[in-house]
Amino acid sequence: MTLVLEAAVLGVLTGGVYALMASGLTLIFGVMRIINVGHGALVVLGAYLSFAASRSLGLDPFATLVITMPVMFLLGVLLQTVFIRPLKTDREALSVLVTYAIALGIEGLLGYFFTANYRQLHAWYDTASFPVGDFRVTYVYLFGFVLCLAILGAMFLFLYRTTFGASIRATMLNRTAAQLIGIDVDRVAAVAFGIGMATAAAGGVVFGITNAFNPGSHYDLISRLLTIIVLGGLGSLRGAVIAALIMLVSEDITSVVISPVWASFTFFVILIAVLIVRPQGLYGVRVRERL
């Protein structure tokens, strides 16, 4: 029982991290109607940037976010402008290929500069733990959770309390209508992609401390993140957060009850259940148009 409880707590804590990463992904989808298959690679890139920054500048991994988040934001704006914006026809399909190419490019560059060896970010809190009832929780999970919650909160405040946030939400609701009332949707899309990448940077740090990673790690990540946003409903931020928590808690519980090798399988079981019961996801809307 304690084991299950421990797994549930751990699931909630890591679920917060996935909630942040998935929010970025679903935000990008919501604004641009594109699936960013490169999101996993961007998280891994974030982890490597933090790795390089913490090593060369001797910074604490979390502190490197001050550098990596703005860098990744700008990179996101650049990538969106150069590679996504030029797509005029058949955007939906072509953008999948473009973002896939971005993922391959990042994987290749990381492999070139950092080799395929596994790396991990280190700090005092990656092994130190504190007691919770009958078990102990490593500090990094708590810190990661708090950090991601804070960033997620900031993102929601930005989206719901600022004028620019309102134009992002307007674009998510109806791109054409947003354009008609004078919103610069291209700028909104670039900023949204930037925000998505900044969240990937933050997620990358926590991912990099809690997991050993190499340039190929993005495949595993992206299949999880994509499953999460399908469960939540594509383009729904609330859905992404809740789905991330559901997925990670079920995964961690499966890991202790059945076996760790079957943990990832929970994702697929839940996905199939979603497809049967509610193909549009928790907070998705069934649309008549081809979404």
Binding site: R33, V37, Y100, A101, L104
Partner: protein, 339 residues
Amino acid sequence: MSALLRQSRVLKLGGIIAVFAVALALPAISPDPATTNIAVFTMMYVGLATAWNIMGGYTGYISLGHAGFFGFGSYTLGLLLAHLGVAAGYTPFLLVPVAGLGTAVLAVAIGWFALRTRAATFVIVTIAFMFMLQLLAENLVGLTGGGGGLSFPVPPWGGDYFNTPYYYAMLALATLALAVSWRIRRSKFGLGLLAIRDDEDKALAVGVPTRAFKLTAFVVSAALVGMIGAVYGYYVTYIYPQFVIDPLIGISMVLMVFLGGLGTLSGPVLGALILEPTQLWLAYNFGATRLYLVLYAGVFLGVILLLPRGIVPSVMELIERRRARAGPSASTPAKVAAR
């Protein structure tokens, strides 16, 4: 029937026969293993891209998970050979259709779930199913050998001849895929698929059984890919989950179709003939470093940003515009012949 149309038909048929004759004679023309090895892989991708196009091109449902079917076909043949105790030789080739059948059954199950969704969600679901198959191949150690992989019997032939049987097997499957794709394209079923691509709800409204059509296209496409995967497994003689259920194989066939022209018959062939040798060349020259992936990504981005509609449609449009300028009477038969 105008003379011009008849002439263009004869030219087209002649062209197809000539290309096919070259493909048949290739191992005799250039028997050295380095060339035939490239030929095996190129022919493999001709088949894969053509098969993928039956679903992705005709119905517009982009599957990024076809590598799952590729690997499943591969594993099916490998396990069949191991459990039936089939000796190496030509017999394994005869069992390739069984692998195709197995993959078809799997595709019915996956398609049944996946086709409850459309467009973006469908793309994601196919990716997820691919990784699910990869995980299953890894975890069902008793069946698949898990991460330790699965060995195929090593064929008794060797030397310059080693690649030849595989080449002809790949050629046969590519031809089969093309024949199926051509047949579908000219059938009422194919028309229904194109209607789904253009507007699924309207297609349903006018009486196209969209669900059955989509599932059929998906299963046909997957079964062909599974058979090709089976031959591939026998060719490389050793497979493991990440190697044979490789997302890169899945995305490569998609890219080839987009390069050649989505939904066209010759586009996937052209795309494969251009991209696979390029990919192999990059892998050969830069494979030691990960720079290979960066270059491939560059090719990738170049193709999509410069030729978003693919070679065949772009060229067709160019020809049509020329003809239209030359005289309105000539443009009509050209349009018919273009299809």
